[in-house]
């Protein structure tokens, strides 16, 4: 017996996807008013927003590069939130990961680059996992709430980084500079994550898409971190929905008491959620380091290294429905907003504060629109259910 959705409901699904988009547009409209208030032209501004995010190959590359740590932190958040743990320690975990990667990279400068790169990435995952694990253990065995511990651990990680970069890891050249800037040596170029622009150009040639202009992907800064992140997103999806471990993580998240009765060791899975989540954030730090930054600098504190990805990753994950695959477009969109926002500021010369407020508005509106999507989907289920019973009644009634 086929369950055919009537036409109106099929249209409804598309509308669902568009609702968050409407929310974004509404936020942008209010943003436009703010732009007017600052005596700039909203149309120019939003044209710049688009250009900055998608207008040129460089822009798209920037967007994807910006999205990479968001995606990585985001898939970790999917694990932790689904496991019932609120991990706001992404910043600290990223820093731990970055520190590990820079330490390994500087120590093994001479060794075979591929091995060292892998060591750095694995090391950054482990470092982040350990940092997250601390919060996990504190929660499971000492009843210290993870919101508190992760907020505190963020700052502790930041200060530790500042100390290490200023003393142990400081660039030897800086020591002789007139005014030493606390930054590490630049990692050797052999440790840069490979750029994938060249491959994309080849793909374009193959598909016959090349324009004749000089703008090739090869000159952009797009590195393979985004590919790593994509692959990991798929793996985490598999982990959460196709493995026993993933099942247990989600069970503990949904109902710890029932899980305990079912024999699942809840404490262990709480720790595991934070360990995995921290690991991905740490990896985000490592990839930022090897792919984009190539050194750590303590001057700006945590946010100069992470770009606030520890928090923005949470936003991306939640926009993606706490689903790793949904986090992919969510982080790309959010990355676009961030990169485009910078271009907006540059182009129409409004204060960057306006961009910050605008992004806040977008987050608030999108997150607030979610209820309408949920209500609609619930109505859909209710309608579909009544359709099923109607059909069943029909089937029964007919001889």
């Amino acid at each position: 017996m086929q369950l055919n959705l009537p036409q109106s409901l099929r249209l409804g699904r598309t509308l669902d996807a568009l609702l968050p988009l409407f929310a974004v547009l509404l936020a942008l409209f209010i943003g436009g008013l703010m732009i007017l208030l600052m005596e700039a032209n909203p149309l120019d501004a939003y044209q710049a927003l688009w250009d900055g995010a998608f207008g040129t190959k460089n822009a798209v590359a920037d967007t994807l590069v910006k999205a990479t740590p968001l995606l990585l932190v985001g898939i970790g958040i999917c694990i932790s939130f689904r496991g019932g743990v609120i991990n706001i320690g992404g910043e600290g975990q990223m820093i731990a990961g970055g520190l590990a990667a820079v330490a390994i990279g500087l120590k093994y400068k001479e060794a075979d680059p591929t091995t060292v790169i892998i060591a750095c990435l694995v090391g950054s995952f482990i470092a982040g996992a350990l940092w997250g694990g601390i919060a996990g253990v504190l929660k499971a065995y000492f009843n210290v709430n993870e919101i508190l511990s992760t907020i505190m651990l963020n700052q502790i990680a930041t200060f530790s980084m500042m100390y290490l970069v200023r003393s142990e890891f400081i660039d030897p050249r800086q020591k002789y500079a007139a005014a030493p800037i606390p930054e590490t040596e630049r990692l050797p170029r052999s440790l840069d994550l490979p750029r994938i622009g060249g491959t994309l150009d080849d793909l374009y040639d193959f598909l016959g898409l090349s324009a004749a202009d000089a703008n090739q992907w090869g000159t952009t800064l797009l590195h393979n971190g985004i590919v790593i992140a994509f692959v990991l997103a798929i793996l985490v999806y598999v982990l959460l929905w196709r493995t026993t471990i993933g099942y247990r993580i989600r069970a503990v998240g949904k109902n710890p008491r029932a899980s305990r009765y079912a024999g699942i060791k809840v404490k262990r899975y709480v720790v595991l959620s934070l360990v995995l989540s921290g690991g991905f954030a740490g990896l985000a730090g490592g990839i930022q380091l090897l792919g984009v930054r190539h050194r750590m600098n303590a001057e700006g504190g945590a946010i100069a290294f992470t770009g606030n990805a520890g928090f923005n990753g949470i936003v991306a994950a939640l926009f993606g429905g706490l689903h790793p695959l949904g986090t992919i477009p969510a982080s790309i969109l959010f990355g676009a907003l961030l990169v485009g926002g910078n271009k907006l500021q540059r182009s129409v010369q409004v204060p960057s504060a306006l961009i910050t407020a605008l992004i806040g508005l977008v987050i608030v509106f999108v997150v607030a629109s979610d209820i309408f999507v949920r209500r609609r989907s619930r109505r859909r289920v209710a309608v579909a259910a009544s359709e099923v019973s109607a059909e069943t009644a029909e089937v029964r009634a007919s001889p």
């Binding site: 939130f81 009843n143 508190l148 306006l354 910050t356 608030v364 607030a368």
Partner: protein, 317 residues
Amino acid sequence: MIDDLITASVLASGIRLATPYLYAAIGETFGQRSGVLNLGVEGVMLMGAFTSLWAVYEVTPAGATSYYGPALLAGVLVALLVGLVMGLATAVINVTLQAQQGISGIGIYLFGLGMSDLLFQKVFGGQVITVNGFPKVDIPILSDLPVLGDIFFRQNLLVYLAFALVPVTWFVLNKTTLGLNIRAVGQNPEAADAMGISVTRVRYFTVTLGGMLASLAGASLSISLVNVFQQNMTAGQGFIAVALVYFGAWRARGVMFGALLFSLVNALQLQVRTKGIDVPDEYASMAPYLLTIIALIFASRRIDQPAALTKPFERGE
């Protein structure tokens, strides 16, 4: 050496530093007790900080050399009003629209951070303006007590008010019907609803109150502690305040201890460095954060959070 470090001045400084945390954390306590997590406290603090400074600036007659009472009153009222508006907005977003609370808070934070700076640039052209804020008020008799007098009773009005809120909060939460309703809604909204308590109305109240107190926290910074506004001047204090609610196990007294512990350690580490004691700067700065965690490990009792925290409530679910 200890009495070199733990001086009356250090303790008094710690109490002052605790004030913004206390306001914000108490506000957040109300909200969380009723089941709503608001991570956007910092944004509201910044809005309160700027608007109250602006009000004081506008109302103070030109050329005034010391504080002007009506200006300070205006500052506080404006802060409360702004906090009311933002608190209501937060309530609409988190309660009626049932947004994901962790993330709506981040949005509110970014909005408040950006908007306060934007207004600052629009109104003052980014010029840093100082105002004559709340002066120290010596409480008669008590301020003459040796040692204790200097520490506790020579602070400004907003400091006294913050600490006065602690017993008031305890009273409201534990001895009034309102408090009972708040706690019921936070523990078991379905049951509360069945008993006729309007979950929505209670949560609106607590979240709006939280907004007003967060805004006042910002004002306590800009018009009493430092008498100036700068972009992002709270530098993470709002988030610490949220963390302190967990530290205090959702009780006013615990929250106060948390705020005091954190701030006193901060004041202490500054004193250590002022005295030239050789400790790496970053370790000293880390101390309040580390000690807060350690304190909680040792003090941890099995206090469970309000069962319905972060879960939106809908009738007939």
